[in-house]
Symmetry: C2
Subunit: 345 residues, 2 copies
Amino acid sequence: MKFEATTIKDIAKALGLSTSTVSRALRDSYEISEETKKLVLECAEKLNYRPNPIALSLKERRSRSIGVVVCEIANNFFSQIINGIESVAYERGYNVIIAQSHESYEREIMDLQFLASRSVDGLLISVSTETNDTAHLKSLHDRGLPIVFFDRILEGLETHSVGVDNFKGAYEATEHLIKSGYKRIACLTNSEYLSISNERLTGYKEALLSYKMNVKENYIQHCFYGGMIFSEVEEAVNKLFTQKQKPDAIFTTSDKLTTGCLKTLHRRGLKVPADIALVGFSNSDIAELLHPALTVVRQPAYEMGRAATELLLQQIESKRPIKQFEKRVLLPELTIRHSSTPKIS
Amino acid sequence: MKFEATTIKDIAKALGLSTSTVSRALRDSYEISEETKKLVLECAEKLNYRPNPIALSLKERRSRSIGVVVCEIANNFFSQIINGIESVAYERGYNVIIAQSHESYEREIMDLQFLASRSVDGLLISVSTETNDTAHLKSLHDRGLPIVFFDRILEGLETHSVGVDNFKGAYEATEHLIKSGYKRIACLTNSEYLSISNERLTGYKEALLSYKMNVKENYIQHCFYGGMIFSEVEEAVNKLFTQKQKPDAIFTTSDKLTTGCLKTLHRRGLKVPADIALVGFSNSDIAELLHPALTVVRQPAYEMGRAATELLLQQIESKRPIKQFEKRVLLPELTIRHSSTPKIS
DNA sequence: TTTATTTACGCAATCGTTGCCGATAACGTG
DNA sequence: CACGTTATCGGCAACGATTGCGTAAATAAA
């Protein structure tokens, strides 16, 4: 099964011209007479000619495609990010090739191999939870592949990056719980490898300290796979309830952790917020429909995707290597709903 | 900024061989001595050689990439589908290029242009809600581009297709409402252009008729943009409540319609299911956490994506044009939760 | 020893496009 | 008339990899 498209040769043959002339006529070169140009253009139209991007890629050594690596597509936050990425890429005539790491370092390396071998012009990546070194990225980057980090950012590689103010998001969420009267606030967070985990965790801790509350390590649970595996979340939540002093609120630091946590609380028959309050990072657009309506920290995912892609394309299309790298930080937004209703005590 | 990869020429030069010999050695041709092969292989390893897929594409007239057109990525159902698509494509060494139609016919045509010009080897498409003819697809299909429909299937084009038994899903959902004691069951559905809408609507109607209940046209509301635009859903729901006989249950036929409907009911201050029951198609994985826990018809989205991609790749890689087309129909699953609790009357 | 066969490799064309150079004709200039 | 200029166009090579064909050398067969 082949798909035969008309080439510049077909036009040349039809008009008795050379391919060079046709090529130039199509690119509106000054060397070609208006008459010939018109002929060529008409013929191209008639034969429905489309330049072959593959041939162009080969010649120009660029593919006009960018690679995107995320842990999962089926995740509100990332699908919204991809939406933003796709919108800019589309505007600028670029393909988006998507790969999922499924939170596996090994798979991430395979993804990069794959994307590099497909000659992507640039890379947008939110690293997997297992990733704690930059070796695999560095080798590509050193060979000249533009890379932009988004969401999960790795130190040790000089590139652009786009994220949110994780500290602020976490601080405000925790502060909100404190101000709502909660005294024993636990935190469910991702792998310690991830920059975002640590920033959010720090925000949580700082908020507690600001209000003269203790940071209890027992109240901090790490879920290595960040909610991708439900049983892990369930176990972490259960651990929180083995404490002598049971927490009266939980702050969760990612989308799947938040929903996973809520699910576990439901299964344990706990009432939110009566028995325990819940505030979490989430980009679900039905947070208000949850039981109870969820207080969430929402990230501007679409804008993050757009910003990251703009930075990447700017770098790809830059004539000179870029030395000055930008770290763009957007603001998360706290939306207060019922899951953190002020405590009655 | 360029990304220089090692080519077959570099190996040839390094070893004092011709490119043909290197090429053949790498492909383990019988014409090359074991000795030379070993040299070449070692050198390729050392220089970290990766064949340039663009050059291969140009020569073999295939790009090893497939195009996917959906209305929206940021939608549970479609992101799960894409997950399935990506999994098969990755296994088989294909790229996935994603385009969104945003439910616009015009945008869909542009997407197809774009994908065709990027020389995709095949196309997976769930048409936009505005699409009601096959002209744009037919011209590509006639020129030999393999196409597989999924979810939303268009008549008038002989291709493979993958969907669910929409009739059954809708029938069972409606039947469940009937058996739960609901008497005035309304239906919120998508554009009449879409095959899935009609099949689901028919399932709804047939269920009513089977139980000797009237089909009231006033109880059927079409949302042209299928929930993509919230205000449309809100308006449709509000219309249902202007009836003299207000409905006591709503059946919604797609993911965003279901959540949009629930959101509207919340805003109107209606209790579900006490004031009105709700059952809908949805692939949200937090349906059980909604208020109330939602009774849903869930489609095996991941499997649909996998099946569609397998059919497409089979067609792409087939030597002879395929004459016999398959319509693969998977089974949706009804999960009963609280939003359709038996009526107390 | 001569001829046939095998082994192992190189040359060149090809995919579609463009850049560089060269060619040709018409025309103007001194 | 000789030469330079300009306008228009064609030929060739190259991007990276594959492949049909040709061929030299080595080996086997006659």
